[in-house]
């Protein structure tokens, strides 16, 4: 039988790998990819807690469902902003991004 802790270990590792990427990456899109990893780990946590602790209710299930939708919206807006930044300063490195308004 698979214990609940095993799933949580996987999601914890996923979360901190995303954290590491977010801290060390210098490219806006790569940082967004790391944020996506963190979101995924939290989704796994919600689903596992729902399945193991409250199998007859659906709170974690629906939270994950809506989190997937919200992350789609977040990605779309973030990529629009990043493309706008690229249009203004011709690259998307964090170190070149000094002002928020042109």
């Amino acid at each position: 039988m698979i214990k609940m802790e095993y799933y949580l270990v996987v999601s914890t590792i996923l979360m901190f790998v995303g954290f590491y990427g977010f801290v060390t990456r210098r490219n806006l899109l790569a940082m967004l990819i790391s944020v996506e990893l963190i979101l995924n780990s939290v989704d796994i946590n919600f689903v596992v807690f729902n399945r193991f602790l409250f199998p007859e209710q659906l709170e974690g299930f629906f939270f994950t469902l809506f989190a997937i939708g919200v992350s789609a919206a977040e990605t779309a807006v973030a990529i629009a902003i990043i493309i706008n930044i690229y249009r203004n300063i011709r690259n998307i490195e964090v170190k070149n991004l000094r002002e928020m308004k042109w």
Binding site: F16, L53, F61, G69, V77
Partner: protein
């Protein structure tokens, strides 16, 4: 502890997810990072399928792997020139990031593994799609019609906002 097929599948999925996540966070080429992210999303969908939430796995495959990754690939192709590589990380920054990550990972794992979770296994059984639909459209105590409507407004706002931000002036 006996080795079951379920456990073997889980171990393969876990190793797949962890390796691909580490590659996505450390690879130098950003297009490869997006590809490894796609593999991580596939592995997560596999975990959902294994927990008998097939609907959630299908949603994950459709929206994440089908939609968001395509968006990433397009924006990467738009914003980076060919042969673009991430610059070499400075030594102390790498060490500082690694130490912070390993320390916080250790603290979290320690706290989590010390805690004793009561249920040792879950009841198998597929979640009925009819149940999901009724819960999503119900206005009762465990109904989700309000977040359903709110997320539709959010997606509309996101479409309008995306066009507003990204259009040419």
């Amino acid at each position: 502890m006996e080795i079951t097929l379920e456990l073997i599948v889980f171990i393969i999925l876990a190793i797949f997810i962890c390796v691909n996540a580490i590659l996505a966070a450390t690879t130098k080429r950003i297009l490869r990072a997006a590809t490894y992210l796609l593999f991580v999303l596939f592995g997560t969908a596999g975990i959902y399928f294994q927990l008998n939430y097939s609907f959630l796995g299908a949603v994950q495959l459709l929206i994440y792997a089908g939609g968001i990754t395509v968006l990433y690939v397009f924006s990467i192709l738009l914003t980076s020139s060919e042969g673009d590589k991430a610059p070499e990380l400075k030594g102390y920054k790498f060490v500082a990031g690694l130490i912070a990550t390993v320390l916080s990972l250790g603290v979290c794992l320690w706290v989590m593994l010390r805690h004793d979770f009561l249920p040792q296994h879950f009841e198998h059984g597929e979640l009925n799609v009819r149940t999901i639909g009724h819960a999503l459209m119900s206005v009762d105590k465990y109904g989700y019609v309000l977040p359903f409507e709110v997320i539709s407004v959010l997606l509309l706002a996101c479409i309008v906002g995306g066009i507003m931000i990204a259009r040419k002036r």
